[in-house]
Every structure is written in structure tokens, then in C-alpha cells.
Symmetry: C3
Subunit: 132 residues, 3 copies
């Protein structure tokens, strides 16, 4: 059997913790060697790739996944998962809309021209779509 | 023509009413015998399977689907739909994170090891993915 | 290569701006002649097809995509995209739940019997699913 191919779509910064927890649980269940995971971040979610102090967080209460974290904690989790083969991408349009300079992104992030095109092509290639 | 296969993904408790309304409308439109529906609940959504007084609801206004319901009303709707063949599942990781004992779940709920794996496998098997 | 087929699902009115921006960016990236896009609006999102003053908006801060717009601006963007071949649909059940008269909808909106059926059938026909 081939690998389980999954694309996670995130467009809101406060949902990063959920995405990362989902991926971690998925790897623990299916096995690192059996999964092929790509994260596509567009919209406001791309700010999750920036230094934590750049995050403008409108979330509150239970959903404050971003705000509640110590600085840099989410990026650390991303880096750990990237080291396990998880692919992290950022939509160029979203980076522009959020005034983010591509050169400042962590080295594990790949910039893609358009998030929607990427999601569409990947689903056509057999990736399951999940929106945490 | 085969049945219309659909997987509903829910990870927020305040979205249960929408999910159940979507399923009811779908059955009314396509016909009970022509649909194959599975609900995968992970994240905070699993608390919807618990007694209503366990629900900690941070929702407000229009989205207070859970809070606005009389106690047990959502569970009654789930039970009715389960009786029509709709499958309800709960992610084991999510149950643990919400300190829920599997033995206390309603009998119509099936516990699955990991919600993301389930969603991925089902999409690979031809289920449409819908996130209400 | 065939066209890139995408179905956008929207069920919350405050997400219209995101959907329309996503579609615009997608067309700019992939080319108008290479995309086949359908928007399925159900739930509260159908009010986005009504005059702006009918919108009851519970959104705030960054997510106030609807509220922050001058009256009629979103409908203008929809009309422009419809002119480029983008298909806009509204779930009949959702129109009823929101007390909306089908005869008052903009001419570019197609009413469908049930949003979930539409989404399921389209995914079965090779459309990628995206929930902005």
C-alpha cells in the first residue's frame, strides 16, 4: 500500500496548534514512514511562520492557540515536524497581503505562487483534504 | 448508481447543530437509501457526545448551536440519525484530551484510533469531505 | 490537460471576502481559461446574496469581511467573477431558513435543491473541495 497522502489547509492563525496536534497524532497512529503530509497556509495563517511577536491575535478563550503559547513554541513544533518530513508551504499572495518578506521565513517553509492552485492540484493527485 | 458517500468532519462543539441539519437535509434530498454518511468528530467536538451539562461553551450569538439547545436535544437528534444508518465516530486522542471516558459514550458512537487517519482513508475510498 | 476544477464551500457570511479573494488569486495564477469554479453557499452564507443591508453580522475585528465593506461591494465582486464564468449557487434549504425569496436573488445565482448533495456529486466528478 502506498503512503497516506494528506493536505492540511489553514487560513487562520489561531488554528495552528490544532493543525500541528492533528499531524502529530496522525504520525503516531499511521507511522512516520507511511504518511506524506503537506501543510498549505494562506490568508492570515501565514503570520504563523513569522516571529511570534508579529502575530496579531484576535482570538480568545479556548481558541487562543496562538496567543497562549510561549514565544516561538509553534515554530519549534513546525521545525520538529519538518524534520520528520512534513512539508510546510506559504501562499505568496497571502505573504504580500500580510506584508511579510519571503527572505525572513524559516528555512523549512516553501513559498508557493497560489495556495488555491496548490490545494487543487494536490487533491487531483490523490491527497486527502483536511481543514482543521 | 452507487450510494452518495459523504464524510462530515467536525472539530468544534458549537458546529454540531449545523452538521446534524446538513445531514437531515441531505437525507431528505437524496433519500435515506441512497446515502452513506459518516461523521468524524475530533478536537473539542467530541464533547458533543457527552451529557449536555459537560459542554463548556464559548460560543455566543448566532453560533451558539450547542448552548441554545435544551439539554440532551443534540444527542437525541444524533440518536435518531444513527437509527437511520448514519455513522458517528469519535477520535480516541480527542477523547483523552477532553478527559472523556469511552465507556460513558452513547452506544451509537464508535471510537476510532485517530480522526485524521480515518478521514484520509475514507477520502481515498471515495467519500466526499465536508466541513460544516 | 483539463481545467482545474474547484468547488468552494461557504456556510458563514463573514467569509465571503475570503472566498472571493481566493477565487481572484486563483484565476490570476492559473488563468481564467484553465479553471472551472463553483461556489456552493449554504447555511447563513446565503445572506451574502441579499442586499447588504440585510446582512446581520456577528463578526468583529479582523474577520469582519462583510461588515467592513461598503454596501453592495461584495455583490459587485461576485457579479464580476460570474461574468468571468464562475458559478454561484445557493442551497434552497438555506434560503428558506433565512426567509429569503428566490425571486429576489441576483440573476447570476443558481438555486440548488440541497448544498450537501451538490458538494458530494461535484467531488465525485473530480472537483477539489476548498473551505475558505
Amino acid at each position: 500500500m502506498g503512503k497516506l497522502k494528506v493536505l492540511f489547509h489553514i487560513n487562520e492563525p489561531e488554528r495552528w496548534q490544532r493543525v500541528l496536534t492533528n499531524i502529530t497524532n496522525f504520525i503516531n497512529d499511521a507511522g512516520q514512514d507511511n504518511v506524506d503530509v503537506e501543510v498549505v497556509a494562506n490568508g492570515g495563517a501565514v503570520v504563523g511562520y513569522a516571529a511570534q511577536d508579529r502575530l496579531e491575535c484576535g482570538c480568545s478563550g479556548k481558541d487562543s492557540a496562538v496567543c497562549g503559547k510561549p514565544e516561538g513554541k509553534l515554530l519549534e513544533e513546525m521545525k520538529r515536524l519538518a524534520g520528520m518530513g512534513i512539508s510546510f508551504t506559504a501562499c505568496r499572495n497571502a505573504l504580500k497581503m500580510n506584508s511579510m518578506d519571503e527572505s525572513t521565513l524559516p528555512p523549512f517553509v516553501t513559498v508557493i505562487p497560489a495556495g488555491i492552485t496548490e490545494i487543487t492540484v494536490k487533491q487531483g493527485g490523490g491527497y486527502a483534504y483536511i481543514k482543521p
